[in-house]
Symmetry: C2
Subunit: 406 residues, 2 copies
């Protein structure tokens, strides 16, 4: 019986899972860095105000919180954009613009655990601060797309929208903004229809929401879709395939202008891997109206999507196993293990003083590729036996040559 279990909605990761996760993380970092993004990190906990300021008081309910010694309410971060902006305000304001930073961190959500949704989950994401040129926003979207493509994912779908257009339409309709945005965010089009009823422009609005082509979008605006048209053109230059999606509402009020989402259709209901766009947050933190945009990628879902696609994760480096025969060879085994480790090889040796049979069974179970068997007779002749653990083939190798041979 296990006396204490892990908390509900959290996960442990086995060595095999961590190898996969680190391999994916590494590729994602490489792409972020190729786009000139540099990593930053912020604390796991923040003052709760940081998140209520951005997302409203409702966020408290979904956030793990506790009190500091001083009595202030702290929160386990539910996301990393607000912390990054806080860090920017405290220490990076004077950095040359545009400033490009990325992060990789765990976030927390206090809700009912379900498949692909955990109470602790990982996000990799970035913020682009100081430019709102269309090619800059297109580059940001291209970064997200190429990071996902760089992991090895084959099937991802990018959708790009423009909240300014959506909001200007809603304003013309004269309905309450947050209610209709909530329905649009949930893709509840029947609900939208019901809400706007027979209002003037209602039919046109539903048509607008269904726009998936730039040409049809342009018709609403006298042949010019403005900013999004330009961003999409640049996106083509970056070699990124996209679909226009006028119905992207994003969850949060702080988004402005261009927004985008990337899905892995293989994941079903929890298919969204990435969400982002332009936003305004710095003024809430006491800063000025610097242009800001960014996105966050759901790391756990990316790993899940790769597994669903049958992606072959890179194999970890080969492991060499050393078995000394008899106590007299044990010290020589330590010396050889140390020498091979210094050369950068992954080496395990018998640490249980097992019989050869049991020792090699262990080597097999920990998936060693080669076993070096050190017998006193061979050693005297300056040799060791190297066994290929897969084929069973054995070969005598000179002890000085073993490093090169392996």
């Amino acid at each position: 019986m296990v006396a204490v279990s892990k908390p509900r909605g959290t996960r442990d990761f086995t060595p095999e899972e961590m190898e996969r996760r680190r391999a994916v993380e590494k590729k994602m970092r490489e792409i972020f860095e190729s786009y000139g993004y540099r990593e930053i990190a912020t604390p796991t906990m923040e003052h709760m105000e940081l998140f209520t300021m951005k997302s409203g008081e409702g966020v408290i309910e979904e956030t793990y919180s506790f009190h500091d010694k001083s009595g202030r309410m702290l929160a386990l971060r539910p996301e990393l954009t607000a912390p990054t902006m806080r860090f920017y305000m405290e220490k990076m304001r004077m950095s040359p613009k545009p400033l490009k930073v990325y992060y990789f961190g765990n976030c927390f959500r206090y809700d009912r655990p379900q498949k692909g949704r955990y109470r602790e989950f990982w996000q990799m994401g970035c913020e682009l601060i100081g430019t709102d040129k269309p090619e800059a926003i297109a580059e940001l979207i291209a970064t997200a797309y190429h990071v996902l493509e760089g992991t090895g994912l084959k099937n991802v779908k990018l959708r790009v929208g423009d909240l300014e257009l959506l909001r200007s339409f809603i304003k013309k309709l004269g309905v309450e903004n947050s209610e209709i945005m909530r329905l649009i965010d949930k893709s509840d089009y029947d609900g939208v229809s019901e809400l706007i009823g027979e209002k003037e422009g209602a039919e046109e609005f539903m048509e607008f929401l269904n726009c998936r082509e730039l040409d049809s979008l342009k018709k609403f605006f006298g042949g010019e879709a403005g900013r999004i048209e330009s961003v999409l053109e640049w996106l083509s230059s970056f070699g990124v395939p996209y679909t226009l999606d006028t119905s992207i509402a994003r969850g949060l009020d702080y988004y402005r202008g261009i927004v985008f989402e990337i899905d892995a259709p293989s994941l079903g209901a929890e298919k969204q891997l990435c969400g982002g766009g332009e936003y305004t947050l710095l003024p809430l933190l006491g800063g000025d109206e610097t242009a800001t945009a960014g996105f966050a990628l759901g790391f756990d879902r990316i790993v899940l999507a790769l597994e669903k696609e049958g992606y072959e994760f890179p194999l970890p480096e080969e492991l060499v196993y050393i078995h000394p025969i008899g106590d007299e060879m044990r010290k020589e085994a330590v010396l050889l293990a140390t020498e091979l480790r210094m050369k950068g090889l992954k080496v395990e040796m018998d640490l249980m003083r097992r019989s050869m049979q049991k020792s090699l069974q262990y080597a097999d179970r920990i998936r060693a590729k080669k076993a070096v068997i050190m017998g006193p007779d061979e050693w005297e002749k300056g040799m060791v036996v190297v066994k290929d653990m897969k084929t069973g083939e054995q070969k005598e190798v000179r002890k000085e040559e073993i490093g090169g041979y392996l």
Copy 2:
């Protein structure tokens, strides 16, 4: 004015700091893996019982805690050995032995922040499960030493002790164990003297506590120091320099047998980089008496010690900057940037439509090594200009050859 600051005792890390930290982390991982350790990860929060079980109720006071929806008390992990053992009990019990796992994670401590002590800090460490052979314990200690050496640290001191010997001495003295261990742990030798007073064996005990040579230790035990003697011999085979230290008490009751600490003298009062040894924890979690040993390295202090030693951290990869002259070259710049990024280069381009002068100033401030200047006239001739940002030297390069040239 910054409206919200980071919580007291926590830190933000700039890109420069993260580059250093990731470089150190990478080297540490490589050494762990060369010794056959494989990474695992556990949740940031655990049920509080896991830690009180190991360290007593006193730990609650120093631990960040909060309540789950179900009303159970959760804690931000103050350390990673208990979570690793919990994970072992839940999912890794059937793994072949010895089992070698390492972790890299943040831990939390609810105390007064001071230099080198933060409320959120990082630990890398490992557990060796299933063997207590002296060469296995020696290999564990060698792993700790070589991980530290592998980071580039020049000045680290390893001390090895044996709690069985210390405890057997204390038992003979007939004093209360926890009180004297606390004093020894603080190196309060006057306090120890006062506590044991004129008891029989008091003088001999003080002599024992001051033992720093194996030969003088052996005298206390009729010429044989037993287990520690054997471990130290193996440690020499692993090529690891050490000092015997009979006075290592470690803080916690759960340690057994061989214990060790590694210091960076350059850090002064907060000099301890590593602590570890053999321990018993599994029975508390409902498991059987499997041999367990491990250690934890203070990651933040390692980075600090490297900085104190004037270590030259590896430089990040070189950054290439692209400046298109005029709007007509901007699309070509996007294509070139994309091409170079695909080749694995780190590339930034002008995203502000700046004048050449301002653009190159920016390139300089973000420490680009080379700037590619794309002028329409050169482009028509199939050329671009590459400027070395350090020397100012400029060179015309054929556009097809630019990838190879950079």
